[in-house]
Subunit: 224 residues, 2 copies
């Protein structure tokens, strides 16, 4: 299971646990500007009963090309109706091939563990225009996993579970709240100010609107 | 272009250069037992005129599960007709999801460079039973690349060039020799003894037989 420490992947972990899965959680140190989300991932993994939580080092800074890994400004205060737009509007926070890379690491670990089920928090509605959060992408990755692994060569099928894929942020928050997720443990902000969420990047905007739309009090402390 | 420093990827680089491509070469420090192959990659990239050669750190030791990254013995002196067998006979030197991971890194770098063509040395004949060296795998990766990148979302196509896919080792060596590859610069051995190739692992066995079958003198110094 990919666990970023954000709201979405915390909810995925809660859903998988409620379905009875034993979960091995994987996070990445990929040259983020901040390590706060890795601390959040560790807290979330512990709180929701992951069997194990590992952090893989994935250096993407040498590649550059994203506001999350290079010296490019994170956009602020974008109107929420623009955030989900596709194509030319893919945001500067898009990290090239990130989900392909992250799922590849999860695939490698799963193969060693003997697992055949990957869980991830991709979401096709509030996905901020990232191409690698679409259902077609996940289907293509399942096929790649079948063709590119020892297990697949022996005839076994891989499944990527993306239970949030068709949910709104409000629905995700309601479902997580129902399952007892403490969202104070999670971290969503692309550009935190000290320990606090900025409140103005795409991720903060989507999170705030999600709590509002869900009618649930947002426990996040925002700086702005 | 994936460049391991081995015989195959050196030949791919020579082929791509002969076809007129400007090549950006990518190698990986992935917890191999030996760094000799990275030195070979650097020599090969320089000798064959790559625009740039980068080495990405990909820590796979925490995953374990392969003789190339964990404390598992590399098999020696296997009969050559067994080496290409599939399925249950996938060798212990198989690294889980390795080509998926390596191609994902290449994809990320290519996207930042504005390239749409990846080159790799996969080979379906002498491939030692690795599932991620088959043409179907490469086709599935092209599709994934189209779906999972900004360029793909904008309608551009990705192409993985695997010019060795249907060649025997002897044919690869003949073609590389014709194009002026100095195979003394390359390194194939899974388990070198000091600076020398062991001469007995699957990779050495395939290399030796390849030179024999090509009728070309093997410049490699083998320890055994």
């Amino acid at each position: 299971m990919l666990l970023s420490g954000g709201l979405d992947s915390a909810t995925v972990l809660a859903i998988a646990r409620a379905q009875g899965w034993a979960c091995w959680a994987l996070s990445f140190r990929y040259g983020q500007r901040h390590a706060i989300e890795l601390e959040a991932a560790e807290r979330v993994a512990r709180a929701l009963g992951a069997v194990e939580h590992r952090v893989a080092d994935v250096d993407l800074r040498w590649i550059g090309g994203s506001a999350l890994t290079a010296d490019v400004a994170v956009p602020k205060d974008r109107p929420v109706h623009n955030i989900g737009a596709m194509g030319a509007d893919i945001p500067v926070t898009y990290v090239p091939a990130r989900n392909t890379l992250f799922l590849s690491y999860a695939l490698a670990w799963a193969e060693v563990l003997g697992a055949r089920d990957l869980f991830a928090g991709m979401n096709a509605l509030d996905y901020s225009g990232y191409p690698d959060c679409r259902p077609e992408f996940l289907n293509a990755f399942e096929k790649l996993a079948r063709l590119g692994t020892r297990a697949g060569a022996l005839g076994e099928e891989w499944k990527i579970h993306a239970p949030l894929i068709a949910m709104t942020k409000a629905e995700i928050i309601r479902e997580g709240t129902r399952l007892g997720v403490d969202y104070r443990l999670t971290h969503s902000c692309y550009d935190p100010i000290g320990e606090r969420a900025c409140g103005r990047c795409d991720s903060c905007v989507l999170r705030r609107r999600g709590f509002e739309a869900a009618g649930i009090a947002d426990p996040t402390e925002y700086a702005g």
